[in-house]
Assembly symmetry: C3
Homo-oligomer: 269 residues x 3
């Protein structure tokens, strides 16, 4: 199952090509803040979003979707129940799924929910900032949705968590770190404005679910999603005056980004 | 009640003039993905949106509103109950209402909800893509929120459904088809980017509710909403680089669109 | 506690400087329509938004946040329960909180919810249009979320309500009126496009919670929020063609606005 050869920029280009060929259906159980933004990011890149997040439909839909995103940004009783069912549906049909444990470690209810979901089914990818990843691994918490811990500090913990969960762990930050426990990929594209708009990280989790639907190696999927978002962000920043115009330009650039440009511009080690 | 004379472009211009004179209050029970976008589309065109979608208030507000939109994009137990009550309130006060059966046919729960609402009160207009209209009429389903059936194939079914439900049926697609069972209108404005942003169709349903509030002939209301959105989309596309700037320009163009230009530019048969 | 010296433009500039130094964590219990927009406005100005609005977490988080916004735009059973708990948490830890009673007076359920919250804890600031403020004070209602009463007519009522509640009352309109019962501040910046996009008023309430987190005088906090939004709106309008580009430019201008410019350009009496 595991591909152990080193990742090449062309692997990321091929992943973007595959995404656009297959238009994967991505089920998003996400928060009310970024639902529209997430859908627009997925559409811009070439995926097909579907926000099916009620208990009556979530499990069944997870079996139809190419990838599933579970984002804990604004959980409610009903959507939390839907998350359990979506994860069960994904497990049954081996649909790749991504856990984005927003603000885990800050608040006990959602931290417990994240741990429950981890026990119920192995996520293909777990994406968070350093604080959230540390919280999943049992460490200290953060301040709201902003990370107070550095990605570097979390990398060692992420390796252990990756092996333990058999998941790829992606730690977002100025440099993004992605590991499957054995391999570690660092990506250093992006722009500070990605943190000046809401949903930069949430969109990244959704993109990972889209790439995981079309790429068998989850490490490549997570890296391709990260590279696609952060390279497009660099282009967007060049045309923006502030966070408002940046967000608009980011959607444009996600749709315009060519696989060959992605391979040329990604800074990966 | 029924106007059987052929529809003229000036009818659509007059509808837009009426909308801007009356600023109809449009109650939207819609999904969490497009709620903001829908409100902004309604404001841009000149209507007054109000997202009242809880069971305590939905029925009462439907009696105060000029038009009601019921969109099944992300139904929950509580909003589904509110939909039943809004439809009852609309029926009682003869408030025009629009059903947008998002992803009907794909998932049993919402398909059943759509059928229940149809039985409870005749919608003024039913708007969907070909798959959704076929699903309401008892046919096959689609793939998520994207249509897999062609509008042409659904037109005959739509005519029958329109007569049976005494509703106007609007099938969205590259060419939009609108029928009341007797008359059939085809509109062929628009731009592919309308499907590259989330909520293109959802906004169209909301605009239909706004026009239905000010235009007695529901076929004219549905056609005026379609023409307004798709003609504005053509202007917006000329100023856009991708889906992000297209969505921004679309709101601008909806507010700038003049009734005379609408009549000049609409392609209607 | 009360500062009775007259407010000077530099007080508002200092407030903006303080906000950017402290990056206050603002908990928003707001409506599904403007959640993303509100978060982006807060990020653009320099605050840290967190939309924690479920009953399991809202009370605890209100004790961690610098300011809390309670906005009644789309209340549900679960979020209404969260509002009670957030208000209790804010009271316990003396966290400043802002009540935005959207459409109070129009619908009994949310009007009653607003009155309950008022009884449970004194809001630091109450922000609404004239109709909403009159409704809180026991007067007549409005039409949906649009105000039908003039701000001038509501000022006398607002003074009484401010004394009775020991809250600052902010009445939004072409001229904004803010009073703590003794002092009355009028601000007359802004642009009509602020009412052509959804969430202009909702964002203002959120900004007030952000400023109240860093400024002890709630009258100054409310005025600084109003000045920041309306001065930025004037800059944004100069670059916009319509409501779509206005909203984008507004986020840019909120991030670009310098405290000295705010003091220069505010029209305050």
């Amino acid at each position: 199952m595991k591909v152990t050869q080193p990742m090449k920029p062309n692997d990321l280009a091929d992943a973007l090509t595959a995404l656009r060929e297959h238009t994967p259906l991505v089920q998003c159980l996400t928060n009310i803040v970024v639902a529209e933004w997430t859908a627009n990011v997925l559409l811009a890149v070439g995926a097909a979003p579907a926000m099916v997040d009620n208990p009556q439909e979530a499990g069944r839909f997870a079996a139809m979707a190419g990838g599933v995103l579970v984002n804990l940004g604004t959980p409610y009783d009903e959507t939390a129940r839907a998350m359990h069912l979506a994860v069960a549906g994904a497990k049954l049909l081996k649909t790749p799924w991504v856990l984005d444990p927003v603000a885990a470690g800050v608040l006990p209810w959602r931290t417990q929910l994240a741990h429950q979901l981890l026990r119920e089914s192995r996520p293909t990818i777990i994406r968070g900032n350093a604080s959230e990843i540390l919280a999943l691994a049992g460490g200290a918490g953060g301040k709201g949705v902003e990370s107070v811990d550095s990605p570097d500090a979390a990398v060692d913990v992420a390796r252990i968590l990756a092996k333990q969960q058999q998941s790829v762990i992606a730690i977002s930050g100025p440099t993004d770190h992605i590991t499957d426990g054995d391999r570690l990929v660092r990506l250093s594209n992006g722009h500070p404005w990605l943190t000046s708009i809401t949903g930069g990280g949430c969109a990244l989790g959704a993109l990972m679910a889209a790439f995981a639907a079309v790429v068998p190696d989850a490490l490549v999927a997570a890296a391709a999603a990260t590279a696609t978002l952060t390279v497009a962000a660099e282009s967007a920043a060049q045309q923006a005056r502030g966070p408002g115009s940046f967000a608009v330009a980011l959607l444009d650039e996600l749709s315009l980004l060519q696989p060959a440009d992605l391979a040329d511009r990604v800074r990966i080690t």
